[in-house]
């Protein structure tokens, strides 16, 4: 069923495209701000490192697991928990600091994924089926709860499929816009903005400003808006015209491959469709 996401160009892989797209957003919106990536998050980790080198020189970013702030590795580790992910950091944060900042709202931005992500940007890491003897037991919710407290959560998935992008999560472990509209702010801390974007192997998506339903924002080269809808488990809000995600430039790829990912890890990260 699931197949590898195919790049429209031999010049870059889909994970490289996603990395560059994320790095641009960090440059436009988060320069000077503090955020972080969790573990099992090689693409956002690469994006933050790339952004710090290019678009966001004042970025403060935390590399979860290895716990370094603003690391300067040039050989992207496969896991942010790999101790080498902390190379050249300017500081570190203990796990308690991370939780403190989650609760106090100290994180400006962060990336989160999920076993399921629904049309309102809610995340499920708990599982699928009836609790407690779930049909699919998820890995546990770890820090997905912080989508409720960090100011601008960004979502991502390496698997664009109807089983991942569902109409309604079986369980919510990370709150997005709950049931849409203003319902988020009846529950979670009202100083936070809710999910900003979702990065997938096919597209970048955002949320309709009023209904807070997920909306297609741009489609990666090689895929159509229709392809995206077909692999999504709910009806996306469709703008009149959907632009193409700009392909990585030669300069972006140069910096990425020379100063972030010299071993080409992003060429082999698994990204799937369907």
């Amino acid at each position: 069923m699931a197949e590898a996401a195919k790049s429209a160009s031999n010049d870059y892989s889909i994970p490289e495209l996603m990395t560059v797209a994320m790095a641009r957003v960090l440059g436009e919106r988060e320069d000077g701000k503090l955020g972080g990536v969790g573990a099992a998050a090689v693409v956002p980790m690469a994006a933050a490192r790339l952004a710090a080198l290019t678009t966001a020189p004042n970025l403060w970013w935390f590399c979860g697991g290895a716990s370094g702030l603003n690391p300067t590795f040039d050989r992207l580790p496969k896991s942010s928990a790999d101790p080498r992910a902390a190379l050249g950091s300017t500081g570190k944060k203990n796990m308690l600091d991370v939780v403190d900042m989650g609760i106090t709202g100290g994180w400006d931005w962060g990336f989160n994924g999920g076993l399921q992500i629904d049309m309102y940007g809610n995340i499920n890491m708990i599982g699928i089926g009836t609790y407690p003897q779930l049909k699919v037991r998820g890995p546990g919710t770890v820090g997905t709860i912080w989508t409720g407290t960090l100011r601008r959560p960004y979502l991502y998935t390496m698997h664009h499929a109807s089983r991942v992008l569902v109409e309604k999560c079986d369980y919510i472990s990370g709150p997005g816009y709950i049931s849409g509209g203003t319902s988020r702010w009846d529950k979670v801390q009202n100083t936070t903005d809710g999910p900003q974007l979702l990065f997938s192997p096919m597209a970048i998506l955002d949320f309709d400003p009023d209904s807070k339903r997920m909306r297609l924002k741009s489609v990666h080269p090689g895929y159509s808006a229709d392809d995206v809808q077909k692999n999504t488990g709910f009806e996306l809000v469709m703008p009149a015209s959907v632009p193409m995600t700009a392909a990585p430039t030669a300069e972006e790829l140069f910096v990425l491959r020379r100063h972030v990912d010299r071993d080409g890890v992003l060429k082999n990260v698994r990204a799937t469709i369907g």
């Binding site: 573990a39 896991s79 203990n94 796990m95 939780v99 037991r137 919510i172």
Partner: protein, 294 residues
């Protein structure tokens, strides 16, 4: 003038000590610095009916104990093998109804441990942290209370006490003064939240060495009951600054458990009684190569 008493014991003796306890906590993160030699020794020594309080992220450390059938109850924050996939022992045990899961998360496990370390009955967090999620519904230990100063709603995360905390150190002296390199420093609270602490270490160093490098001492030894010399004691997870994770070995484990061949893995890698015999099974060339990824 008497000399300070050494706490060094054999790996097997440490395994017996661990197996006598019921609530076991451990630190490390994902596939980094898990006390694997101690875990194997505890399994060999018949540990059973355990409750496990893991670090906020774990992989083979907890999954092996679950797959080996030692665990009744598991405090969950995150268990998984990153790029390989879901934790196979955990998933099978839950989906077949054999394992009780306390549906925790990062703040629940971390702050529950902090509360126990501090002697606090619980830690209250603002209700807005958990409202909007299913966690309070699935985890009855999250109790809603009122802040007595402001009247605001909050959830009380209860203290999570352990009987025995097991840790792997990069350097440790015979009194239990230990250095953990890398990681996110969950070890001190885990140790403080437990009645007793058992440490394996890559290297046993002199007390003078401890004094010289005191700024790197993560955990003073006064609460440590036993110290085990276990080179490569975190294998197949990484030992920061010493060796990297053994990804092919993790895949061997992952595939074996997923295919229902846990016993063959246990026979080959958990049965060896000494750390030297285990390392022979793994192969010294493999182990030496891992040093390049430290």
């Amino acid at each position: 003038m008497a000399e300070p008493r050494s706490k060094v014991v054999s790996l097997d003796e440490a395994g017996r000590m661990i197996a006598q306890h019921k609530v076991i906590s451990l630190a490390g993160s994902h596939s980094v610095n898990s006390p694997m030699a101690l875990i194997r020794a505890a399994i060999r020594n018949g540990a059973t009916g355990l409750t496990i309080i893991p670090p906020v992220t774990t992989a083979i450390a907890a999954d092996l104990m679950i797959a080996a059938g030692c665990v009744d109850t598991f405090y969950l924050s995150y268990i998984g093998f990153e790029t390989l996939g879901f934790a196979p022992g955990f998933r099978a045990a839950v989906e077949s109804g054999k394992l009780k899961v306390i549906e925790g998360d990062e703040p629940f496990v971390l702050l529950g441990t902090r509360a126990a370390a501090g002697g606090w009955p619980f830690i209250p967090v603002p209700a807005g942290v958990y409202d909007g999620t299913d966690l309070p519904r699935l985890n009855p230990l999250l109790k809603k209370i009122k802040d007595p100063h402001t009247g605001a709603d909050c959830y009380a995360i209860p203290a999570l006490h352990a009987d025995c905390c097991i840790l792997h150190a990069q350097e440790c002296d015979e009194l239990g003064n230990a250095q953990f390199w890398g990681g996110n420093n969950q070890e001190p609270d885990k140790a403080a939240a437990a009645k007793t602490v058992i440490i394996s270490t890559e290297r046993i160093v002199s007390i003078d060495h401890t004094r010289k490098h005191v700024d790197r001492v993560t955990l003073p030894g006064h609460k440590v009951a036993a110290v085990v010399h276990a080179p490569y004691g975190a294998h197949p997870t990484a030992s920061p600054g010493v060796y990297g994770a053994d990804e092919p070995h993790l895949k061997i484990y992952f595939d074996a458990v997923r295919k229902g061949e846990t016993k063959s893995y246990l026979d080959r890698f958990v049965a060896p009684k000494t750390q030297a015999e285990y390392l022979d099974q793994v192969g010294l060339e493999t182990l030496f190569a891992l040093q390049e990824n430290a």
